[in-house]
Amino acid sequence: MIAWAGPDGRVLPVVTAPAPVLGAVGDEVDPTSPEVVRLAADLVATMRVSPGCVGLAAPQVGVGAQVFCVDVTGHPKASTVHGAFVLCNAKVIEASRWKAGREGCMSVPDLTGDVKRAGRVVVSAMLPGSGEPVTVTTDAFEARALQHEIDHCDGKLFLDRVAGAHAIYQRKVYL
């Protein structure tokens, strides 16, 4: 099981573009270190209090590290669902079934964009705390969320992947 079962974290402020941390490649982390476990807990706590938030990466709380959380539970576009989980040093090792979809981001609150993502991915990563290596195979909305968060850890925003000049939109309401 990869579900998050760590301590309660603090709710951190979410940084928005053009903050430089969002464009920097995050450092690989030691998943067993107490700071990483605390960061994981803080990411989960911050995600949980943010309406509509299905994932949050360390750069979005101002930390340039390869750690993120995801929870797409209950989302209508989700198929496979692993609940709330946190991954460290995650890499996409297989990607297929590419499909365009609309994405937003708490760090780019005023815009959304059409982005092509794999509808099925295999991701290798380590769990915070135990440091256990895991392979996550998922699809549909959870696969999209993982790719979006892994991009954050690589200093990329959905704006770096939009399909074309007319694929960004002014957001009318943030959930």
Binding site: T16, L159, D160, R161, A163, G164, A165
Partner: protein
């Protein structure tokens, strides 16, 4: 048969597209390619049409209130990059003077032809997305030059190949 390039800019309101196209239809102007959008609330429409002489189209649009219009005769030729490959450039960062100028100059120097471009200012975040036709094998070098320009501007830039979506 005349080919006309027309721009119409003014405060946005319901019915403005209908008014513009009705005025043109009344003088026999046949719309071919057109685009309309709102830029920070301003109505902007650019279109190419065929039919009447430019003076006639100009007179027809002259009846519209509160808009700036321009009509010009054009020739149907257009410039294209020979064997051009479609790429997409994304730029985002803190707003400052000259981002578009600097980035598009680098693209031009690489022989790239911008075929579509949009920019947005959202708070302090400036976003530019451009579709570019590049000469064959020009991508890697342009990516390096864009990275240099982006570092000077303090913005992030990505250049990637556009994916053809042809069934």
């Amino acid at each position: 048969m005349h080919e006309l390039a027309i721009t119409v800019i003014g405060p946005d309101r319901p019915g403005i597209v209908a008014d513009v196209s009705e005025a043109l239809a009344a003088v026999g102007a046949n719309l071919t390619d057109s685009t309309m959008t709102r830029l920070r609330g301003h109505f902007t429409m650019t279109l190419i049409c065929t039919g009447p002489a430019s003076a006639e189209a100009e007179a027809a649009l002259g009846s519209l209130k509160d808009v700036v219009t321009q009509v010009r005769s054009v020739s149907p030729e257009s410039y294209g990059v020979k064997d051009g490959e479609p790429w997409v450039v994304s730029v985002h960062g803190a707003d400052r003077l000259g981002i578009v100028a600097a980035v598009t100059r680098v693209v031009a120097a690489a022989g790239g032809n911008i075929t579509d471009l949009s920019t947005r200012l959202a708070g302090t975040l400036y976003v530019l997305v451009a579709e570019v036709d590049l000469p064959p094998a020009a991508g890697d070098e342009l990516a390096q030059q864009l990275a240099v320009a982006a570092a000077e501007l303090g913005v992030d830039v990505t250049l990637r190949q556009a994916e053809p979506e042809i069934l």
